[in-house]
């Protein structure tokens, strides 16, 4: 999955005029498709350096609450905790969502190897995908590239459809409605506001609803 969507990015990067090296390295160092797409597309239209930085940074603001909510899982393992700044650098939506889902039921010392393995697989696939996409770009018709890019959000829709905790489900529903609306108001600041408002509303409503039977601890 990661391979295929990064192939989409690879071919986009080539069309945007990025060099092969920069395209592949950007997958590893930015490691978040929306930020990478912003980088490639703004570069292609010759946007100012500051604008490219701000746009790709804002596209990746989600990593703040993401790393915050994932790290507590690794706190009990001193070896993993020492690597915390690396752990968050290799985190993607994919590895984050899977770790939040499966991590809590593992013992402390199982989580670090699980997460590391997951990240290595995803990173390898991402790098291979970018390289492949870059080299195959010329032979890809538009409808293939665009379908590879489409694969990415679709995958996340279904990944999140498996979320079980009520407050998280509420946050997803509110976010899905508010995201596009807030984007219309402000393309730069819409997303952080959407997250804070949707997340707070979900958290608050969940607290006021009757506790669910069998609903475990929130991840």
């Amino acid at each position: 999955m990661v391979l295929a969507s990064m192939m989409g990015y690879g071919s986009l990067a080539r069309d945007s005029g990025l060099s092969f090296g920069v395209s592949v390295v950007s997958t590893a160092t930015v490691w978040g498709l929306p930020g990478q797409v912003a980088f490639a597309e703004l570069f292609a239209v010759g946007a100012p350096v500051l604008a490219i930085m701000v746009a790709s940074s804002m596209a990746n603001l989600r990593f703040l609450p993401m790393s915050l909510s994932m790290l507590p899982l690794f706190r009990g393992d001193s070896q993993a905790w020492r690597w915390r700044y690396i752990l968050v650098a290799i985190m993607s939506i994919n590895t984050w969502a899977l770790t939040l889902r499966h991590g809590p039921s593992m013992t402390q010392d199982q989580r670090f190897p699980y997460y590391l393995g997951l990240c290595i697989v995803c990173m390898t696939a991402g790098l291979a995908g970018t390289a492949l996409g870059y080299h195959l770009a010329a032979s890809f018709p538009f409808y293939v590239t665009v379908s590879l890019i489409y694969l990415n959000p679709v995958y996340f829709v279904f990944l999140f459809s498996g979320v079980r905790h009520r407050n998280c489900i509420l946050a997803l529903m509110f976010g899905a409605v508010l995201g596009p609306l807030f984007h219309l108001i402000s393309p730069e600041w819409g997303l952080p506001f959407c997250g804070v408002i949707a997340g707070s509303a979900a958290y608050w409503i969940d607290k006021r609803m009757a506790p669910l039977k069998g609903d475990g601890e929130t991840p």
Binding site: M1, V22, V25, V30, W31, G35, F39, E41, F43, V49, I52, M53, S56, S57, N60, R62, L64, P65, M66, L68, L71, R84, Y85, W96, F142, Y143, V144, T145, V146, S147, I149, Y150, L151, P153, V154, Y155, F156, F158, S161, G162, N167, C168, L172, M173, F174, A176, V177, L178, G179, P180, H183, G190, L191, G195, V196, I197, A198, G199, S200, Y203
Partner: protein, 117 residues
């Protein structure tokens, strides 16, 4: 673009972009070390993360930027709808939904490119 040569060309730009992305990740680490991992604040941040991701993905689906923008909204939603049908048919499995939706989307965009629809 003279600015670009000033910061060391394309590689310089990549370093700047990567750092401006990494600050959010590092910020998460700094805050995570200071709050109670099972407390309400940590739960609230998880909700915010989900809210932000849902907002992002729904925005990409409904109002994409870039090459997805050139595809009709109807195609993106129809493919997603069929994906959901498959998702529930296959007992909420990730793969049938994802692959099904992408396949339908590929077929629709291909037919449009060939002028069939």
């Amino acid at each position: 673009m003279s600015e670009l040569t000033l910061i060391g060309g394309l590689w310089g730009l990549l370093v700047l972009v990567s750092l401006s992305t990494y600050i959010w990740r590092a910020g998460g680490v700094l805050i995570a070390a200071r709050i109670d991992p099972t407390g309400p604040l940590s739960q609230w941040f998880t909700c915010v993360a989900y809210g932000m991701l849902a907002g992002l993905i729904s925005r990409i689906m409904l109002m994409p930027i870039g090459i997805l923008e050139q595809t009709p909204l109807a195609d993106r939603l129809a493919a997603l709808g069929i994906g959901f049908v498959l998702f529930f048919l296959f007992k909420r499995q990730l793969l049938p939904g994802t692959l099904g939706a992408t396949a339908v989307f590929l077929i629709l965009t291909t037919l449009r490119a060939k002028g069939v629809i």
